[in-house]
Symmetry: C2
Subunit: 341 residues, 2 copies
């Protein structure tokens, strides 16, 4: 299956010449599904990966886990997080596991070293080995354990496509994006749960709905959406971590912006006031390119202060340095990017 | 300056769906400049980065450094290397520096930790800091110091575009690829020397010439080309290191193949018997995608044994694993790739 060439939205220069080009598609929609702006093929199914953790977290409400375990905004933020394994994340997930009466041994996400440099170096210095708590998805997995318990199901194997937890998660995502997830387009994510490919149009619309209290979602979803939006937007450090665009931008927009990176060049998010949702995917999977695009999207969509503009520009036009620290080029939005608005 | 969309030559799947696509161009030429096969835009100038270290190393012959310092094939292989900072590389570069009467303090490439995991972990365990010797380009830089000395020039600042060393290096590359390097398309490389963008067609032809004793290059270049080809092809471990396609493939082809990776998705190389040269660049800079393509190119160009075929297939069709070690997809040549031969 060939895909039409999406436009070049990001260029990496070296000296006075473009070295690398990144093609991508994005969609901006309102909660009725109306497209406000778009670039490239928004009907081609893409894997959203971790960018839709907040849609997957709707299962915490649908299953009754939020009420049963008295989950608060910090727990919800961690359930929606791709964190850097910093102490605030590890402590938070440990507390969340305690709350639901489970332990690190119940997590089926696998272990990896923290992506945060300081946390990683500290572990090495202390001769510690990473556990599943340090996995960037440990909060989401804890949430899925909570769903299993609330459903009265055996949590074992909760990562498998056929487990009641994943079935419920799938239903929640389908209801929000308004599309059915097809078994022809399913893969296993880095943390081992299923990820379902679906068009950007649906993801953008789904995030718009999450931000809009007057969407056509069922009441439970609407209420859950509002709470998840706020939990993320107001606990940005828990959702991402130090020196991440998600953290920086959500913090700068003071509760008005919710956004989330997904592996292999994906971002999804929404704005509180305009109730616009957005979704993007870089064809080649580059995360730095996706960061530049999302910074550009937010700047175009939101009413931004000078301070917010400066912050976003740090990500949409980023100097690259070499081993000696010389500035050798920039990673920046292409000239074509602006033409889609 | 927009570039026409190159074809998708590599796809990364997850489950049963393509997640990432990599567009690229490649050129295969003989030493007369005749194109044998190509894909995408081979006239668009690209930065060759480290893929042309063997062309830059011609300056060791032109300056008389090879004779003056009695450089052997191991020194030449290191001058053409992007090594992994393993002990064999660090020791080799130390010996090379000794030979020319200079030290690590003369190297202007900057320091970085070895890209080899074992070497890196050993350094950490011993509490050692990386030096310029561990920089993957330390051999090339030692070669450039040798050129400065042979020219009777002050080596200080040998990394700068205006230094006699870089002027000679530029001339050597220009003569071999048959194109002038333009200051409009010049950048600073990771190791701080200039890199000049030029079309793939020229690089492919230049590498064909390097492999062909009957090319139209000046006698000195022809002899140097033969020696550099052999030095690399027969010392693959010095040119690259453990678990690298360059090492594996050159070793498997027993002196008949010379190839070299360049940062941001470039490969150049040549085959001894057919005297064909090749050059490729992935538009988005992906190295894994470039590895798949070069494996495919070599398989198409060379007469391969079953054993060599199996080895190349390891790189042209590579399983990807997640944190738990589950095989989640593959990185492989696209269906379109074969259509260019």
């Amino acid at each position: 299956m060939d895909q039409k060439a999406n436009p070049v939205l990001v260029e990496f220069t070296r000296g006075n010449w473009v070295e690398n080009r990144h093609r991508a598609a994005f969609c901006i929609a309102d909660s009725s599904g109306k497209i406000v702006a778009n670039a490239g093929d928004i009907e081609h199914p893409i894997y959203p990966r971790s960018a839709i953790k907040s849609l997957q977290a709707l299962a915490l409400f649908e299953s009754g886990a939020v009420e049963k375990f008295g989950l608060d905004d910090r727990d919800l933020a961690l359930a929606c997080a791709s964190h850097k394994g910093e102490s605030v994340h590890v402590e938070g997930v440990t507390r969340f596991l305690d709350k639901i009466g489970m332990t690190v041994d119940d997590l089926e996400c696998g272990a990896h070293v923290p992506s945060d440099k300081v946390a990683r170096n500290n572990m090495r210095k202390n001769g510690e080995e990473p556990s599943a708590l340090h996995n960037n998805c440990s909060g989401k997995h804890t949430g899925m354990l909570a769903v299993a318990k609330a459903l009265g199901e055996d949590p074992k194997g909760y990562i498998e496509q056929g487990h009641p937890v994943q079935k419920l998660v799938r239903t929640c995502v389908e209801k929000t994006v308004g599309a059915s997830m097809s078994a022809d387009r399913c893969g296993r994510d880095g943390c081992s749960i299923p990820t379902w490919a679906s068009p950007l149009r649906g993801f953008a619309t789904g995030f718009a709905k999450l931000s809009d209290p007057h969407s056509d979602l069922p009441e439970l979803y609407k209420k859950a959406g509002q709470q998840l939006f706020d939990a993320c937007a107001q606990n940005a450090m828990l959702v991402a971590g130090t020196d991440r665009i998600d953290t920086d931008a959500m913090t700068a927009f003071k509760g008005k912006l919710m956004m989330k990176v997904g592996a292999d060049g994906v971002f999804c998010g929404a704005l509180r006031d305009s109730h616009l949702g957005f979704a993007l995917k870089v064809d080649d999977g580059s995360v730095p390119a996706a960061e530049a695009i999302v910074a550009g999207l937010v700047e175009k969509l939101a009413e931004v202060s000078e301070e917010q503009k400066t912050l976003l520009a740090k990500w949409s036009h980023k100097p690259t340095k070499n081993w000696r620290g010389f500035e050798v080029g920039t990673a920046h939005l292409s000239g074509e990017f602006a033409s889609f608005f």
